[in-house]
């Protein structure tokens, strides 16, 4: 051991393992394929069934390339571009935004159980959006609702952050208890808003609250896209700093990281991503929990791959979940939020049990 100090070079050669890189490539290809198939299937299946070739043809014509595959009927073309495509695009964006938000939150809290839905950021954003809808005027518009959702999301994230941290660490039990409190408070606020709202606003809020991608419009998609792309890009740029945060904030600080600044930026990112998603799609829980966790199991915890994988994985999950929500019951549409909770709930149980077993208690 000591002689190695004297001879600086010539230590056992170790290339940064190529195995994880191969795995990452395989996973990304698989996700891309799933995404492409999901997009085409989701656009094609529904009350009006459109063939695969027609979907592709319509897509190409929309961007100015006319092919023989383009749908012959104008109604089909319009239905795809007015209804199906914006909805598919919204599902991609919302899934990606929620998954990235989850991954960022877990990095900042140093805890794999942190998730916007679980700790109440989503319901905070929902309360903000609902307030926007009820108050009418500018705030009820597309940008207004998104801004209100963002404000609600920031408020909830800050609250969780301030309440759930003690001595620079976030313990699982405190985090979840804080989540309960924030969710309860935001839920009560939401109930109050529904109570005072007129019947039209009420109905709008109730259905939207269940989580649905129904009726997504291009202008809404555009707003979500701007927020989601910007925030995800910043999150990816911060990936290596998130890695350092895993060492604990003190050690991360010793390595030159401005921990407090990173945290504040990240809280804003989480709120922007969650707010953008929640504003138009309602509360869709557990995406931010399930997706980063699954990606971490395959690719490991390094955040550059984790965030990229979560972005793709979240998009894949919601495209398929939305397709399922639309088609599982004939003649009706399941709320997608209900569906993700149905899968996410049991998964959360499993994570909890594992965290408990590993940490030997509720620390």
């Amino acid at each position: 051991m000591a002689d190695a100090v004297v001879t600086p070079v010539g230590a056992p050669g170790l290339a940064p393992a190529s195995r994880p890189r191969l795995r990452a490539a395989a996973l990304f290809v698989a996700l891309a394929v799933l995404l492409a198939v999901g997009v085409i299937a989701s656009a094609g299946v529904g009350q009006l069934t459109v063939s695969v070739t027609e979907v592709i043809g319509a897509l190409l014509r929309g961007i100015g390339i006319d092919t023989a595959w383009a749908p012959s009927s104008k109604i089909t073309y319009e239905a795809l571009w007015q209804i199906r495509f914006p909805r598919v695009a919204m599902s991609l964006l919302v899934g990606a935004a929620l998954a990235v938000a989850g991954a960022v939150m877990q990095a900042v809290f140093g805890n794999p159980l942190a998730e916007p839905g679980v700790v109440g950021v989503s319901s905070g954003a929902a309360l903000g959006a609902a307030l926007g809808i009820v108050s009418g005027g500018v705030l009820a518009g597309v940008v207004g609702t998104a801004s209100m959702a963002f404000i609600g999301g920031v408020g909830a994230t800050l609250m969780v952050y301030v309440m759930a941290r003690a001595g620079g660490r976030t313990e699982v039990v405190t985090l979840l208890l804080t989540g309960i409190a924030v969710n309860a408070f935001a839920g009560a606020g939401l109930a109050l808003v529904i109570f005072v709202g007129d019947s039209a606003a009420r109905e709008q809020i109730v259905f939207w609250q269940l989580g649905s991608l129904n009726g997504s419009r291009w202008n809404e998609v555009a707003v979500v896209a701007v927020f989601a792309v910007a925030a995800s890009t910043i999150a990816l740029a911060l990936a290596r700093r998130y890695d350092l945060l895993a060492l604990g904030e003190r050690t991360a600080g010793h390595l030159g990281l401005r921990v407090e600044r990173l945290r504040i930026v990240s809280i804003v990112l989480v709120a922007v991503l969650t707010g953008a998603a929640v504003a138009f799609a309602g509360i869709i829980s557990f995406v931010g929990l399930v997706v980063p966790h699954a990606i971490r199991m395959v690719l490991g915890p390094a955040h550059r791959l984790l965030l990229t994988g979560s972005l793709l994985g979240g998009a894949v999950l919601l495209v398929w979940a939305d397709l399922f929500a639309r088609t599982a019951v004939t003649g009706a549409e399941l709320p997608i939020g209900l569906l993700t909770s149905l899968i996410g709930g049991p998964f959360f149980f499993y994570l909890l049990r594992r965290a408990r077993a590993r940490q030997g208690g509720w620390a």
């Binding site: 051991m1 100090v5 230590a11 170790l14 895993a246 060492l247 010793h254 030159g256 915890p301």
Partner: protein, 259 residues
């Protein structure tokens, strides 16, 4: 020996108070490049607090700490990280990072600089030095306490700084690895690094340190060469335990409780 070497740390009458509690009081200590200083003392004597003040984590309530001729609080976090590395007492990693990745994190301060070209070599050397090269593909969370401590030390070495602060680096280690870690610390000092180490084992401190600072209730009770500092009277007073101080076979003092 301090006179001939450049000073890394120059702390003057440092005090740390939290509310009514005084953790460190009127401590003055220098650490020169090329010197290994051991901080010893009973639990709660203020060793770790003093180390965190030197690290720049904590502002002293009174007194000053100059690091590389500038107040330690005036350095930016990045500049500080390229000049001093710290091994904390408690080393956890929140997610199952691989050992190689954990040690690579020690290179973060050099990211984007020309020194980053030496990343691979610095990591490989640190892994070899700490005897953990065989663990590179394991996840940190799967390691034993001793392995974690050595990997964390490797991360500190990979940072390649001219000052190193180690808070109880031997706490979780077996006999051999305790010696190994201090031998590493010793050879760092030999290469011109300023090293401050918090230790509990007085004989270990005596064997490897150039100077020992004995802390007692926040103050420095004695500071000097092992032979000067480790007297039965002082140790009995500070620890409240009668001891024998014997001459070891290699001439370094051995401290044994009187039983």
């Amino acid at each position: 020996m301090t006179g001939a070497l450049s000073l890394a740390y120059h702390a003057e009458s440092v005090g740390v108070r939290i509310g009514p509690a005084t953790l460190v009081e009127d401590v003055s200590i220098d650490v020169a490049h090329g010197e290994l200083v051991a901080l010893v003392g009973p639990n709660g004597a203020g060793k770790s607090t003093l180390l965190s003040v030197l690290a720049g984590d904590r502002s002293p309530s009174s007194g000053t700490v100059a690091f590389d001729d500038r107040d330690v609080r005036d350095w930016t976090p990045g500049d500080l990280a390229r000049r001093r590395a710290v091994l904390a007492q408690d080393n956890q990693v929140a997610f199952p990072f691989r050992v190689w990745e954990v040690v690579e994190m020690g290179r973060a301060p050099w990211q984007g600089l020309s020194e980053a070209d030496g990343d691979e070599e610095a990591i490989a050397q640190a892994l070899a030095t700490c005897d953990v090269a065989h663990l590179t593909e394991r996840t940190f969370t799967s390691l034993s306490g001793g392995e974690r401590a050595r990997v964390s030390l490797a991360r500190v070495l990979a940072q390649r700084t001219r000052a190193v602060l180690l808070d109880e680096p031997t706490a979780a280690l077996d006999l051999k690895h305790q010696e190994d870690v201090l031998r590493v610390a010793r050879s760092l000092a030999h290469d011109g690094v300023a090293v401050a180490v918090v230790l509990h084992d007085l004989s270990l401190a005596a064997a490897y340190a150039d100077r020992i600072a004995v802390m007692e209730r926040g103050r420095i009770a004695a500071l000097g060469s092992p032979a000067d500092v480790l007297t039965p009277a002082l140790i009995e007073r500070v620890y409240g335990l009668p001891v024998h101080v014997l001459d070891g076979p290699d001439g370094t003092p051995l401290v044994l409780p009187r039983r």
